[in-house]
C-alpha cells in the first residue's frame, strides 16, 4: 500500500537522521584532535624550528603547568561551575613553599614537608571556597574571585615584598633536571593527568561528576550525594592549584605571588578548546589534555614565528574562536550561554 510505503520511508529517514546526529556528535568530539593536528602541521610548515626534537621537549616542558591547572579545572567545568581562585591561591602556595624550604629568606628547611603543608593549605582554602559555593549557593565565579584576592593578599603579606629564593638542591634539580630530555615537572604533570584520568574513568566520583554536569536533577534522583561530590571536586581542584603553585615556584626558583597570575584563563580556555562544554557534562580530562597542548602550541609557535608581541594575543584569540566555533554544535533553537 502506498500509505504503508510512505510511512515506512519516514521511519527509515528518522533512523538515518538519528544516525547522522550521532555521527555528528562523534565528529565533534574528535574535532580538538583535528585542530591540534592542523595547528602542528601549519606551524611545522611556517615556523622555523617548530618541528624539532628540541622544541618538542620545550613544548612538553611548557605544557606542564597549564596541564595540571586544566586537570583541576576540568572537573569544575564538567559540573558547570567556574573557579578563578588559582590566581591568588597558586601564588600563595608558591610563596609559602619557597619560604618553608631551604631558602634565602627564612631559616626554615622543611624540605618536602613544606610542600605537603602548602598543599594542605591549598586544599583547605579550595574546600572552603567550594563550601561557600555549594552550601551558601553563591556563584562560584564570584566567590573564587574574592578568595583569589584574599589569598593574593596573604601571599604578599607572607614575604613582604621580597620573594624568597629556593636554595634546596632537591627542588633545583626537580626544576631543571630531565629524563630522556623531558623535564621532571612534565612527568609530574603527566602523573596528574594519569590520576585525573583514573579519577574520571575508574572511580565513582568521576561518574558522579559526569552525572551532575549532565543533569543535576537526574543525579539527585539516582541518589547521588551532590554536595559531597561537588566538594570533592573542589578538593581535587585544591590539589591541582597547590601543585601549580609548587611547580611554578620551583620553575622560576622563587616564591612570588605572580606565580598564580595567568594560569586560570588559559586553563579554562584549554578545557573549552578541548571540547568540554562550559555548561557541563560533556568532555573530560583527555579532551583537556588536547586543549592544554593546543593552547601551549599556539603560544610556543607565535614566539617562534616571531609574531610581534603586540599582536600575539589577538592572533591567539582568533585561533581560539575559530577552533571553538568549529567544534561546537549548531542549531536554531540550541541554547548557548
Amino acid at each position: 500500500m502506498d500509505q504503508q510505503a510512505r510511512s515506512s520511508r519516514i521511519g527509515l529517514e528518522f533512523a538515518q537522521e538519528m544516525k547522522r546526529q550521532s555521527q555528528r556528535e562523534r565528529f565533534v568530539s574528535w574535532a580538538p584532535l583535528a585542530v591540534l593536528a592542523l595547528l602542528v602541521l601549519l606551524f611545522s610548515l611556517t615556523a622555523e624550528g617548530f618541528f624539532s626534537l628540541k622544541n618538542l621537549q620545550n613544548v612538553l616542558n611548557q605544557v606542564s603547568i597549564p596541564l595540571v591547572m586544566s586537570m583541576g579545572m576540568t572537573f569544575v567545568i564538567l559540573m558547570g561551575s567556574t573557579d578563578l581562585s588559582a590566581e591568588g591561591l597558586g601564588g600563595f602556595v608558591g610563596s609559602v613553599t619557597a619560604l618553608m624550604v631551604l631558602n634565602s629568606k627564612t631559616t626554615l628547611d622543611m624540605g618536602f614537608l613544606a610542600v605537603v603543608i602548602a598543599m594542605v593549605a591549598s586544599v583547605l582554602v579550595s574546600a572552603l571556597s567550594g563550601l561557600m559555593h555549594i552550601k551558601g549557593k553563591l556563584p562560584s565565579f564570584m566567590v573564587s574571585y574574592a578568595v583569589s584576592n584574599i589569598m593574593a593578599g596573604f601571599a604578599v603579606l607572607a614575604y613582604r615584598g621580597e620573594p624568597a629564593l629556593i636554595r634546596d638542591p632537591f627542588f633545583t634539580v626537580l626544576a631543571q633536571g630531565d629524563f630522556l630530555g623531558i623535564p621532571y615537572l612534565t612527568f609530574i604533570a603527566l602523573g596528574v593527568f594519569g590520576v585525573s584520568y583514573v579519577l574520571q574513568t575508574r572511580t565513582r566520583f568521576g561518574s558522579y561528576v559526569m552525572a551532575i554536569g549532565d543533569n543535576e536533577a537526574i543525579a539527585r534522583n539516582i541518589g547521588i550525594n551532590i554536595d559531597r561530590t561537588k566538594l570533592k571536586v573542589f578538593l581535587w581542584l585544591g590539589v591541582c592549584i597547590g601543585l601549580v603553585g609548587f611547580m611554578g615556584a620551583v620553575r622560576i626558583g622563587r616564591g612570588e605571588v605572580a606565580i598564580g597570575s595567568n594560569v586560570v584563563f588559559p586553563a579554562i580556555t584549554a578545557v573549552v578548546v578541548g571540547g568540554t562544554s562550559l555548561s557541563g557534562g560533556k568532555g573530560g580530562v583527555v579532551h583537556s589534555l588536547l586543549g592544554a597542548f593546543i593552547v601551549t602550541v599556539i603560544n610556543n609557535a607565535l614566539v617562534l614565528l616571531g609574531v610581534s608581541p603586540y599582536v600575539q594575543q589577538a592572533v591567539q584569540g582568533i585561533i581560539i574562536i575559530v577552533a571553538v566555533a568549529l567544534s561546537i554544535q549548531h542549531g536554531k533553537s540550541l541554547i548557548v550561554k
Binding site: 564570584m142 543535576e216 600575539q312 594575543q313 561546537i328 548557548v336 550561554k337
Partner: protein, 326 residues
C-alpha cells in the same frame, strides 16, 4: 506553621524586596562605619572622590549587567575600555570633539562583534569574549604604539568638562555615568528588546517560542555592554587625562562584581540595571574607605576580598531551596 499560602507568598515577596535593597543597606552601613572611624570620609571632598571613582566602573557594570541578565558573560569590557581610552587620546588632537563619536562608534562595533560571535557562530560567550578581549588588548597596544599616551594641554579644553563639579559634591562625570545608567535601565525596563533580554535570561526556550526576537535582544545586550565599556574608557581617559593601553584591564572583574552585588543573578533573568549603582557604590566605598581610614597597604587586598565575599553572601538570593547555582 502557618499553612496559608498567601502568607508564605507575602513572606517571600518581602524577602525579595529586602534582598533587592540589601546592598543599599550594606553600603550605607559601611559608609557609617567608615564615617565614624574618620569623619572626613563623609566630607564633600571625599564624596566627590567616591562619585568620580564610581563613574567608570558603574558605566561598565551596567553594560555588563545587560549581558549577565542573559545568563551570559562579557569578559572583554576591560580591554574595550582600554582601547577606547587610547583611541580617544589619539583622536582628540586630530578630530577634536568628533573623537568622542568615533569612540562611541567603536564601542558599538565591539559589542556587535561579540554578539555576532555568540549568536551567529554559537561560541559560548565566556570564550568568545575572552578571545575578543585579547584582540582589543592587542589593538590598544598597536594604536598607542605600546606607550602610555598623555593628553597634552592643547586638547585639555575638550576634556576639562570632567572637572566640573556641581554643588561642590556632584561631579559632572558622575552625572554622565548616571545618565548612561538611567538610559540603560530605561532600555531594559521600557523597550521591548530590553524586556526580552530579561525574559531570555529567565527562560530562553519560552521567550523564543513566545515569538520574542531572542537574537536581537542578545545583540542588544552585547552592544550595550560594548558601548558601556567604551564610555567607561572615555571616563578613564578624562579622569587620567591620558590613554593608557592597560587602564581597563582590572575593571572587568570589578564590573562583574558590581553588577552581581547590584542583584543581577549570574544565571540570568533576575535583577535590575538601575541597582548596579549600588553594587558599584559598594565596591568603590570599600576601596576608597580603606585608604581614607588608612588601612595598611599589605592588608588591603585581604580586607577587600573578605568584604566582597561578605557582600556577595548577603546579596545572594537564597529564596529557592532547589536552586542550581553554577
Amino acid at each position: 506553621m502557618p499553612k496559608n499560602p498567601s502568607f508564605w507568598r507575602r513572606i517571600t515577596a518581602r524577602r525579595e524586596t529586602l534582598t533587592r535593597y540589601l546592598s543599599l543597606v550594606t553600603t550605607v552601613l559601611l559608609m557609617v562605619v567608615f564615617g565614624l572611624i574618620r569623619s572626613s570620609f563623609l566630607g564633600p571632598r571625599n564624596i566627590v572622590n567616591i562619585l568620580k571613582d564610581l563613574s567608570p566602573v558603574m558605566v561598565m557594570a551596567c553594560g555588563e549587567a545587560f549581558v549577565l541578565l542573559l545568563g551570559s558573560i562579557d569578559l572583554s569590557i576591560g580591554a574595550i575600555a582600554s582601547c577606547s581610552a587610547v583611541l580617544l587620546t589619539v583622536l582628540l588632537p586630530v578630530m577634536g570633539p568628533w573623537a568622542y563619536a568615533v569612540v562611541l562608534g567603536y564601542g558599538v562595533l565591539t559589542g556587535l562583534l561579540n554578539g555576532f560571535l555568540h549568536t551567529r557562530l554559537g561560541v559560548p560567550s565566556f570564550i568568545a569574549t575572552l578571545s575578543t578581549q585579547a584582540i582589543w588588548q592587542s589593538c590598544a597596544y598597536l594604536i598607542s604604539g605600546g606607550q602610555p599616551l598623555t593628553m597634552l594641554p592643547p586638547v585639555w579644553p575638550y576634556v576639562n568638562w570632567g572637572k566640573i563639579i556641581f554643588l561642590e559634591a556632584v561631579p559632572l562625570l558622575f552625572l554622565v555615568a548616571l545618565a548612561v545608567l538611567v538610559a540603560y535601565a530605561f532600555i531594559n525596563r521600557l523597550t521591548a528588546v530590553g524586556r526580552v533580554v530579561t525574559a531570555t535570561g529567565a527562560n530562553e526556550r519560552a521567550a523564543w517560542l513566545m515569538g520574542c526576537n531572542v537574537r536581537r535582544s542578545k545583540m542588544l545586550a552585547f552592544l550595550c555592554s560594548g558601548l558601556g565599556a567604551a564610555i567607561g574608557g572615555i571616563l578613564f581617559a578624562i579622569k587620567l587625562k591620558s590613554g593608557i593601553p592597560t587602564v581597563g584591564t582590572q575593571y572587568t572583574m570589578l564590573a562583574i562584581a558590581a553588577a552581581v552585588l547590584g542583584g543581577v543573578s549570574m544565571t540570568g533573568g533576575k535583577g535590575a540595571i538601575a541597582l548596579t549603582l549600588l553594587g558599584a557604590m559598594l565596591i568603590t566605598v570599600i576601596q576608597n574607605g580603606m585608604n581614607v581610614i588608612g588601612v595598611n597597604g599589605l592588608w588591603q587586598q585581604i580586607i577587600f576580598g573578605s568584604l566582597l565575599l561578605a557582600a556577595i553572601y548577603l546579596n545572594s538570593d537564597k529564596s529557592h531551596k532547589g536552586l542550581i547555582v553554577k
